[in-house]
């Protein structure tokens, strides 16, 4: 492998403000085999940052470290100016950090609407009488939130999306009318989108997406791209792990390449595409001389 192209930790082009996420010198190993080695990266608000790399490069491990499901051996994670390295996952989420999972982690026996609603209501105290009172008559799912949108409006911290009911949020991600579908009965592509909507429901400032495009057809993937760009334009920071390179190249402002747990390159889509180190990482050993024998 060629020498590591150090990521730019200094101020980012976007306004010079604080990065939404700063990962510094993070290392993780499992039983002596190292999964991440001194990873540094920053995700500025208002951008879509791509994270790519071959299978087993450590992308999902990095997501687990950022969201708190995996404790790093070394290094620190900052969410804006808060050190979240030792913080429990639910506390990070309350700060505005949402994620999706490569292998779906939906609330499978709830409906799509209920999945989103759990996210929307995540800051509500369950012992508040109002919620029990509503449940006396109405069914769970989308309907119960309808007509009470002002209350829910206040819950959604981010103004990224002007949507406040499960129905509207689902419609926003292209799943209008599907809120009564049971989540585990939906095709992968749609289920992934439900997961995305659930993440958006907590009003995140940083969105970690682990292969949201897999299982989507061409049109759906297009729509996903448009949505992510729009989310970023409202100031949200998006970190995207994706194998659909067409999508990554099209919407990312910046791309990081992870290989063997190291960040081997950082740059614009054009720079990454023509980077020989990246090609080598994707194509395997000895390929710098070209793709054929």
């Amino acid at each position: 492998m060629s020498p590591v192209d150090e990521p730019r930790l200094a101020s980012e082009p976007n306004g010079g403000g604080l990065p939404a996420l700063t990962v510094s010198q993070v290392s993780v190993s499992f039983g002596g085999v190292s999964a991440l080695t001194d990873v540094n990266l920053v995700v500025p608000p208002g951008t879509v940052t791509g994270l790519i790399g071959p299978n087993g490069a450590g992308k999902t491990t990095l997501f687990n470290v950022i969201s708190g499901l995996q404790e790093p051996d070394r290094g620190a994670i900052h969410f804006f100016d808060t050190d979240v390295t030792m913080m429990k996952p639910y506390r990070r989420a309350r700060l505005g950090l949402a994620r999706t999972f490569q292998r779906l982690e939906l609330f499978g026996t709830l409906t799509a609407g209920e999945n989103v609603q759990v996210g929307l209501e995540s800051t509500v105290k369950w012992w508040q009488w109002r919620h029990l009172r509503k449940a006396l008559w109405r069914n769970s799912g989308a309907e119960s939130a309808r007509g009470d949108s002002t209350a829910v409006d206040a819950l959604v911290g981010s103004d990224a999306l002007a949507v406040t009911t499960p129905d509207r949020l689902l419609a926003e991600v292209g799943l209008g009318g599907m809120s009564n579908e049971q989540a585990n009965a939906m095709p992968t592509g749609l289920a992934r989108t439900v997961e995305l909507a659930r993440g958006l429901a907590i009003g995140p400032k940083l969105l970690l997406l682990d292969e949201p495009g897999s299982g989507l057809d061409e049109a759906e993937s297009q729509a996903l791209g448009t949505l992510l760009v729009r989310l970023a334009s409202t100031g949200m920071a998006v970190l995207l792990v994706e194998h659909d390179m067409e999508l990554v190249m099209r919407i990312c402002d910046r791309i990081l390449v992870l290989d063997f747990g190291h960040v081997i390159a950082t740059g614009t889509p054009e720079a990454i595409r023509s980077d020989p180190t990246v090609q080598a990482a994707y194509l395997g050993a000895g390929s710098t001389s070209g793709g054929t024998q």
Partner: protein
């Protein structure tokens, strides 16, 4: 690169009977279909590289072939016998060797104990298995009493592939052999794949790393979204794969 110097038998697929045929195979996880009708013919004695991006269904296809997953439609034929509902262990005993993604070893057993498991294939003695393995990989001999999981990734993969070496399979399935390994070790492993190929074994290998795989392959195909997108000579597929991966 040493790998290129390995003599690879020049075989034309047309002249050979297939060692492995996959016909209109569909498979799903629960309600989610991941293979949407895969057709693939691997001629006897060939090294077939199956390429494609993550999530294309390559590993799932190998699971179907090795009997770990039942297809929802279609059939798998090894030699001239349809696999039907044979359980994985029976398939293994009839000469199908499948080395799974990750490490095909038992991490909490020592190297010797791992080798002992290889004798379940039948007709093998522990002694001959050990001798053969250590002759090919002297490094494993030094580590014979060490827990396999504590070895380096490369050593683990050597141990994994030793199963293919000692059990004399008719058909060999290799899933992401090079994943997470340093280039030097990858070429050492592929040297062995070349040797196995030279012995006339039929090999189906799944790889993300195009070049490595294509150095030994005699035939290749690209799989995208649960289907075979194209099939051809290794050099044609190399170019095609690069465009699929980096969408250039």
């Amino acid at each position: 690169m040493t790998v290129a110097s390995i003599p690879v038998p020049e075989l034309s697929p047309a002249t050979l009977s297939p060692a492995l045929a996959i016909r209109a195979v569909r498979a799903s996880y629960g309600r989610i279909e991941v293979l949407h009708g895969v057709d693939l013919t691997v001629p006897a004695g060939s090294v077939f590289a199956l390429l494609g991006p993550n999530g294309a269904g390559k590993s799932t296809l190998l699971k179907v072939i090795s009997g770990q997953m039942r297809p929802t439609a279609g059939e798998v034929v090894i030699g001239d016998k349809p696999v039907g509902k044979l359980p994985t262990e029976k398939l293994a005993r009839t000469g199908l060797c499948s080395i799974p993604e990750g490490r095909g070893i038992f991490p909490n057993l020592t190297v010797r104990e791992n080798l002992r498991i290889w004798t379940y294939r039948g007709g093998l003695s522990v002694k001959s298995v050990e001798e053969q393995t250590y002759a090919t990989f002297p490094r494993l001999s030094e580590r014979r009493k060490q827990l396999a999981g504590t070895m380096s990734g490369g050593e683990q993969q050597m141990l994994a592939i030793s199963r293919a070496l000692v059990t004399d399979p008719k058909v060999l399935l290799l899933d992401e052999l090079s994943m997470g390994l340093a280039p030097l070790i990858v070429s050492e492993l592929y040297e062995l794949v070349g040797t196995l190929a030279a012995q006339g074994k039929t090999i189906l290998l799944v790889e993300q790393f195009v070049t490595t795989a294509l150095l030994v392959a005699t035939r290749a195909a690209i799989m995208v979204h649960g289907k075979i997108q194209q099939e051809g000579t290794p050099s044609d597929m190399a170019t095609a794969a690069l465009s699929v991966y980096l969408s250039s």
